[in-house]
Structures are given as C-alpha cells and as structure tokens.
Symmetry: C6
Subunit: 231 residues, 6 copies
C-alpha cells in the first residue's frame, strides 16, 4: 500500500498494530464491554493529539457530563484545563433529543478550534434515541462524510454486552465505519485480563493478532509484541 | 494514580480489592442474581458508614417494605433503630409510579440527615416502570449527577438472572455508573459457592481477580487474598 | 444468627437443610419443572402443619380443581377430609380473572380458620393474567406483606421450563420472595434423578449443596446428608 | 400407593413403565417431535381399548382428515372399520375455528358410544387458534375436568421441535396434565434411534429411566427392560 | 407392513432408503439449507417420473422463474423441452399474493396433463405470504387432501437456516406432511460434505441412518449402503 | 456438466474454486462479517473485468459515498478514474428511500455503458428499508431476472454478524441467489485468519473445502490449493 501520513493515537503501543497510526480522515469504531477503557483510549487520542502532535480535538458526549469525563482523565494524569483554555480541545455535551442538530454542532466546534481529531462517545447512547436501524447507518455515514470533508480523523465508541460476540450494539456500526478496534475483557480461571485486536482497517495493513493491554496510571498501554489468549 | 481519600465500605475484605475503598462521589453498580447478598452488602455500607466512619446514609427502596429490610439486617446483627432515631440513617420507600419525583426525594433525605452515603435498591425494580431504555440511562446519569453535587458516594443494586452472563438487567447500567462489582453464585459438582470481582472502577486501580466471599452471621465477608474458581 | 423458632415443613429431611425449618412469616419460592413434586411438597407442608404441628393452613389454587389436588394427595396417604371438616385446612380455588380480589380472599380464609400456613399454587398461573411484569413484583410484595401481617409462613409455587436455567417464570419472583428452593430433574445416561438446593434463604443459614430427594408413597423425602450430581 | 385398577394402553411394554397402565380418569400428555409415533401410540390406545379391553374410544382430530389417520393405522394392522360400525370407536374431526364448541362435541361423542378412552390430536394444533397462553391452560383444565366427570382416561398429543428441550409447545401443557410421556428421536454418529421416558405421572410410581422403543409393522413396541442412551 | 406399489423417485439410491420409493398419494417434506440440492432432487422426481416411469408431473414455483429452474436442470442433463411439448410435464409459476387460488391452479394443471407427481417449491416462500401459522398448517393439509383426491404423490420443499436444528421454516410443516427427508451440509475440518436421512415416513419402514449423497453432473446420487458422519 | 464460458472474477485463485469463474448471468451472494473484504473482492471483479477481460461494470452502492469506495480501492492499486472516463465502469449511489426506482436505475446504467458485470453493495443495507421479508425475496428475484435479461453476471453483498452462523442477514438471500460465497474471519488462539468457501453454485461444480485467503496490497488473493481450518 502507498505510504501515507498517519494519525498517531498517543496510546503507547497501539500505533504499532496499525502500521503507524490511524488513517487520516477515517472513522474508527472502538468497541468493548463496560470497563475496557474505551473512554480512556479516546481521551488519550484527544489529549496527546493536542499536547504532542499539534492537532486540536473535539470530544462529543451525549449523556455523561463533561466534568465527569474530565475528572476521570485526571486520574490518568490528563489535565485538560489548560488545553481547553488555549482552545486546543473542546468538550461538547449534546442532548440526543434533537438528533438532527448534531451535524451542525460537530461542524461548529471543529471549525471553532480548527480541530483535526474528533471523539464521539458513544454511538450506543446516540442510537438509543433513533427509532430505526437504517437511520443509525445513515447517521454514521453522515458523520463520516462530515468529518472527511472537515479533514478530521475520528473515534466512534460502541458499547457491547459481555454475553455477545458482536462487534457493535446495533449490528450495523462495523459495516459503515472505516475500521474496528475490539477490546476484550475475559476470565481464565480466577483472573480477568485485557486484550485488543484490530478487526478491520480500511486503507492499511494491520496486525491480525490479539494483543494484551493494560489500564495503567498513565492510561492505556498496548503490548504490540506480545500475544494474548482469551476464552 | 493520585492518592485519594477513600470511602470504606465496612464489608470486611472488600476494600482491599479496591485500593482502600470506594472513590468518593462515585456511583457503584452492585450486580448479582437472587441470594448473592446485594442487600446485605448495601446495608453494611450504610450501617458501618454511620456506626464506624461517621458518615450518615440514606437507603432508598422501591418495593420492599422498609420493615422487611431492617428485619433481615437484624439477622446479621445490624440494628438500625438507634441510628434512625439519631438521624444518622434514613430508610426511604419510594413508589416508582411517580418516577419524576425521585430526585427531589433523594435530595431531601440526604439534606435532612446530612448523608454522605446512599443505596438505591434497586435499579432493576425502578427500571421496570420506565418505558424506554434511554430513560434508564438518563435516570442513572441524573442520579449520579445529583449524588456528586451532594458529595455522596452510592451503591446502585442490579438484579440479574442465572442464565445470563450480563452485568445488568437492561444492558446499559454498567456503562453509566462509575464502577461495577459483580457477585457470582455458581455450582461445581454438588456444591454452590460465592465469588466476587471488581469488573470496573473509574478513578482507581483494583483487583482483576475473582475472590471468594461468604454470607456469615455478621454479614458479607470477602477473602481478598484468596482466588475463586467458578464455571 | 440469632436462634429462632422455625416452621417445620413436615417434609422428611428438608428442615435439616435450613437450620430447622422455614423462617416464620417468610415467603418461600418453590421452583421446578413439571413433575418435580412442587404440589406434593406444598401439600405436605399444609397437611403436616395441621396434623403434627398444630398450625392450620390455607391452600390457594388458581386453575386446578380442588378435588384434583386432594385426590393426588390421597396417593401419598394425605387425606384432607377430616382436616377440612375440623376447619384446620381450607382449600380455595380462585379465578384469576379478578386479580384485585385475591388479597381479600386470602385474608378472609386465613382468618376464618386461624391459619398459620399458606400455599399459593402457582404464581406462574397467576402471572399469566397479569399484563405487566412490575405488577407481578408488586403482587408478590403485597402477598408477602399481607401474610407477614397475618403471621403466616408461606410457599409460593413457580413453574419453570426444562431448557431454562432460570429460577422463576417471569424472572422477578426470586428477588421479591424471602427464599428460593429449587427442584431439579436431570438425566445422566439413561437415568433421571431428582435433586434440590436451597438457593436463597433470608434470615437463616442453609445448606449450599445439591441434595437428592425422592417422591415416595408417603410424599417427598429429602436426603440431607447425601449430595447429588446433576448435569 | 394404594393399588388401583389401571387402564391398559395396549402398547406392548409401555404399561410396564407405569406400574400397570394409565391411572383411570387421568389426562396424559404425549409429547415428541415429528415422526416419533405419537399418532400411532394414540391409535393403539383406542384400537386395543376397544378390541381387547372392552373400552370404547373417541379420537378427536383438529386438522388431519379422519381418513388419513385411519389409512395410516392400516399400515400397522389396525383396521377401524368394524369398530366404527359397531359404535365402539368414533373418529371426530373438529374445526378449531369454533373452539367454544369443543367441550360439547367431546361430551356428545363420549356419551353416544359410551366411551372410556379419548385421544386429542393435538393440543399443539388446537393451541394455535388460541390467542392467549392462559386460555390454553384453562382449556386443558376444562377438558381434564370434563373427561374426569365422564370417567374417561385420555391422551393429549403435543408436538415439539427438534432444537428445543421443552416438554410442550406452549410451555404450560405439562403443568396442567396429570402426566407426561416424552418421546425422543436422537442421532448418535450416523444412526438415529428412539427412546421414551415417563417424565411425570400423578398418582403412580413409574420408571425414571429412558427406554428404547420401535415403530414396527404392528405399531409401537416399548422395551421396558432395556435402557436407552441419547445425546 | 403390507407390500404396496411404490413411487420411484428416480434419484439413484434414494428409493433404497424407503423400502422401494415414496408411498403413493403421500406428501413428503424435503428440507435443507441453501445449496443442498432440494430443487435438483425435486426436478429428478418430475423428470424421471415422466421419462422413465410414465407418470406425468407438475412443478409449481412461487417466485423463481420457470426458465431459471429449467436452465439449472439443463446442467444436470435434464432437458424438459420435449416433455413439456408432449404435455408430460407442466411448470407453473404462481403469484403468492393470491393464495386462495392455489388449490384451483394445482388441480387444473394436474388434470390438464393427467399428472401423478407434483412438486411445490417452496412452502417456505409461500408461507411468507401467510399471516398466521395455523393457516400454514391448514394450507398444507388442504394441499395434501387435494393431491390425495387426485391420486398424486408430492414433494414439498422447505428451506431452513444453517444455525437451526429445525426440520422446517415455520415449525409446523413436519407435522402435517406424511414424511420428511432431511438434507445436511456440514463441515468437518476444512471439508464440507452432504448427508441425508429419512426422518419420518408414514406408511413405510425406512432407513434410520444418515447416508452420504453427492450432487453430480447427472443430478443427486445417494449412497444407501454407506453411512455419513456429521457434526 | 457441459463446458461453458465462465466469467473470470479477476481475484487471484478464486476462479480455481469454481471450475473457471462465475457462471454467466448468475447472481452470486458474497457474504461475510465486517472486514472480510467483500467490497474489495467486488471491486476487483469490476476493475479486472473492465481492465483485463473487456467487460464493463456497474457498481451500485446504497449508502457509502462513491468517493469513499474508490478511495479504498486506491489502497489496493485499483484506480477507477480512467475507467470511468472511458465509460467502462460506472459507480452509482442510490437512495434506498425510493426502492421502486432501483430496477430502472440499474437498467439505465447497464445500458449506458453496455455493462456485463454488476455489483450491488449491499442487500443488507437495502433490506433495512424493506418492511416485509417476502419483499426482499421478491426484490432479489426481480434483480436477478433483470440482470439475466440484460446478460449481466452479478455479485450481491450480504453483511452478517460474528455471532451468527447464518449465510445472510435476512435468512432468505441464499435461497434466491444462484450461488453463495462465504467469507470467514476466525480466531485460533491469539491469531485471526481468513477463510472462504463456495457454499452453493448453481450450474457448476465447485470446491467443497475451506480455503485460506489474504487481503494483500493488491487486493484479495485466494489459495485454492491450501485448506483452512477455523473454529
């Protein structure tokens, strides 16, 4: 494949699984059960983007208060206060009752701080307000189109349930995004452990293995040279 | 992670799994099938909070009569009579037919006794009165927001069924709470046994193992140094 | 736990699993597939209560004709004729089309013969006439409250299906009763066998093993010192 | 249990599993997937009843034409022509669109030929015309009540699906009948084989094993001294 | 069983599994997932019937164009052109929107060419246009009755899904047909293979084994002396 | 089977599984979970058709923007710019809200560039806009009929979910297409791998094995001489 600039995630070890980072202007689905670190990974993507890679970022949340997300990030050493003041990062809480406004909201915020990175947390929460499954597909396509037009690379969070082997909440998200990162939390004997795989990634080769990762005091760390075994 | 004051649960052994106790102002989901001791753990949290740690507590029940819960507690040596008279503990029974009043009810009772701990027993009962799943998410977020504003740490009980491997009744509770404690009751051969894990805990490292626990004459006791095996 | 008077079930061996019998004023769920002896155990509870322990009993049935239940009991040597004439036992058939009358009916019959024991056969039949699951929870709570007020100890029968691993028909009964006894009928090779466990029992320690039982000519007999293995 | 006259089924070997035959005035559920011989067993019950045991019988079918059933019976050497002419057997086809007439129809036919045996083929077909599950329970109870009043012993056919482990089509039939005979058709390697068990039988002890049976040129034959193994 | 004329299927090896062929005037269900050769077997039944056994045949299709079926048959060396011109075979495409006309359509075509064989491809397609399951049972019974009256032997195609272990699409077809032939397509390691069993056959003994079959250049060939193993 | 001209897919190794290529005028279902390369295979079919085999092609997409598909293809070295300018390939985006127009749209585009190949991406997206399952069958038949009339060979993409073992999204697609190619993505230990099988192919013999394939820098490559093992 043609060599290409990549978007560094800022998550230690993750970019080594994807040949150097995310593909610019792609929309990646980040999928996992509760407690797998989806919000942490997404926050690192925005935080390190602004801090280290000079790319501003917008974090859109539908239900969780912005203060709650930022407070969690503090636990991993990510203090967004200054970045927000400098207009390098914008947290946006959006009320999913007016779904038709979301595109304008995203666009406005991206333009306001000239963002190159976007996180949408989560399509699962957003989708609950949508009556018909086709509308979820359409909405994701519209978001993808908008972000591409605005030259943004994005992570879309998807929440799944432990008993399912699915890649998404509604069974359509993985088909309409450019890639899928799957996070596993699995028990062997009395020990739970974490693993991650790049299930799909348009426009890039990628690891086809299962790799261990940890949620450390500094956020998520991936071990690209190790392999994980889960049930 | 930054060291932090913790909220001691008062359940012997449990705080050793969570680096010293619950994170202040967090909302923990306590999930398990019937008979796993969810109400006992929650009662210990309130009882020991008031008795031992000087933190008053409110216990909200939606269906079960207060007398019935207090009478069960007596079996584990927890007599709430005096604590109630001293306005250190308040039991509140709430009729889920008027769901919109719940926030005011919780706030009034917290303020009345200056509570720092809250138990909501259970989101599963409450959720049955809610027509749409998004409303459950929203309600939990609202409760979490309210409790955080009032500086309370809380346990939210979730009832699950034996044949499921889910973390919650409605499949959304685990995503909108700050942490999840899962209680297992599992058979090996002719013997049933109990085990517990901290599935998720925002803002804290925690054990990622499965630990045995027992329901004794003094209530629930956790064995943080032992590991459990279940099917 | 504090020592306490217990309500003897009259089922040989069963009380040894529960530290001496049922807890007074508790509502026990008795759950099993077809043919596991739920009606037989319940009849023994009423019959032996009146005959041996001086406690009168009311047996409420929703669909099955009273004559049919009494005739089955005759096969196990339980003749209720005299007990009914002496007003020590009352069989009541209740038409579930008028669900709101059930509380009055139960109360009237308990008071009429000064009953201390009640059987409700079955919540599964009754629940079919209830449109909403919350109403089943509420109904069980109301029944539990009524029986407690009238100083009665009760068994509530729940019918489950062979392919399920659930504890109840509607998935809520086990949470709103004080205890659960589960009856298993399971095949190993070409042989079916019976086993029982006390899944949950509020206010009492209890066996956490699986015990064999038989349906003999004298009714159900439990083997508390033996352990059963099922698939 | 008190010794008792039994109703001989006329199926070779079957009565040895049930201590001598069916219990008079009981309603037995006969349950199995397609091709397990439910109609054949039921026909033998009626045929041998009239031919060998001097008990007349009524065979009620809801959909299948009477001629089709009788023609199948011919293959097993059961010619009902003469028995019908002598008013010893009556085949009745009933249109399930007028479900409320069924009781009168059954009663009329039983009285007309003074029947002691009844087959209802099938509750699964009948139940499809019933809108609410409680109505199926109620209908079976009414049929059971009617047959008992008229001193008849009856077989009620239930059709189940291969992928289910259930005992009945609607999940209620097994609770409201006096007994259940389950027919299995199961594959081991490349060979399918037949097995039968008496799952439940009110008022009688019975085998709790799985026994092989065959569909021979003379109809169904059970091997009560042999045990079967299925998956 | 009484010896009887049989209807030769024309599928090599198949008649050896059923004691010589189909039972005259019976309605056989032919069930299998996509690609198991249901249409090929049915076409051989019609083709060989007309060509080799002097029995004319009607092939009814609900959706697939007649040309498409005939073109597929050409691949297996079955050219129906001449047979149609000689009025020995009739292909009929029927629009399932007017379900009530189907009986007349079938009857007219059978009488027109004096057919003895009928294929209905498929009940699964037809059933999708039927609102209520009882109507599917009723329709199959009506078709069976009609065909019997017209002295025809018939195959009724049923499409099932790979993940199911069912015998039919709607769970009723196998009970209202006279027999069931099941076609399996199953993988062991990296190799898929085909197997067939006669699940049920009214009025005839039949193999109770699983037999391999192949789809060759000449159509389906069954190996009645070999046994197949599938997962 | 009669030797026949085949339609070369242009996917290295794939035609060796199907005796030389697709059958002209057939409609093949290409089914797989997210990330299995369905769009890549389909694009190769169109690209190589126009480039190497002199057959023009139409690619119909329902949701994904044409630019997005073409941009993905660039990653595999397929630049459609020139082919579009030369009217050898047409990409068509179709709004599924007006489903009744689809036939005209397909026909117009086929005629405009005299296409011999068509890709429909995807029936799963299209089907979400259809209210009734029979309509999906009918639509696929209509498309198949149209394409056959216009002498086109086509691939129809079907998206399935990881936890299912089905061949299609709606459970009908595999019955109304001429063939099915199934793509698997499966994990053994910590390694995911890809495999493919030809499940069904009307009018042609085909491999009945599972073969490995890879998504390389040049697009999909199949290894027809190797066998794959998946869970």
């Amino acid at each position: 494949m043609p060599s290409q600039e990549r978007v560094k995630t800022g998550v230690p070890g993750l970019d080594e699984l994807t040949n150097g980072g995310l593909v610019p202007k792609n929309l990646m689905l980040l999928t996992g059960t509760a407690g797998t670190g989806k919000t942490t990974i997404s926050s690192q993507f925005i935080y390190e983007g602004a801090k280290k890679y000079g790319e501003n970022g917008v974090y859109v949340t539908f239900e969780e208060p912005v203060e709650s997300i930022k407070s969690s990030c503090m636990n991993y050493g990510m203090d967004f206060t200054e970045l927000e003041e400098q207009n390098k990062v914008a947290f946006v809480k959006y009320d999913p009752f007016h779904i038709e406004d979301i595109y304008e909201l995203i666009e406005t915020n991206i333009k306001r701080i000239d963002a190159k990175r976007v996180v949408i947390d989560s399509i699962s929460a957003l989708g609950l307000y949508v009556k018909e499954t086709p509308e979820i597909r359409r909405m994701i396509f519209n978001i993808a189109f908008l972000l591409r037009r605005l030259n943004c690379t994005a992570i879309l969070i998807s929440e799944i349930l432990p008993m399912q082997e699915s890649l998404s909440r509604f069974g359509v998200e993985e088909f309409v995004t450019d890639g899928v990162i799957v996070l596993y939390y699995s028990r062997t004997g009395s020990q739970f452990s974490r693993a991650m795989t790049i299930w799909k990634m348009r426009g890039s080769s990628h690891s086809s293995k299962l790799h261990p990762y940890k949620i450390t005091e500094k956020g998520v760390v991936v071990y690209p040279k190790e392999e994980a075994i889960i049930k």
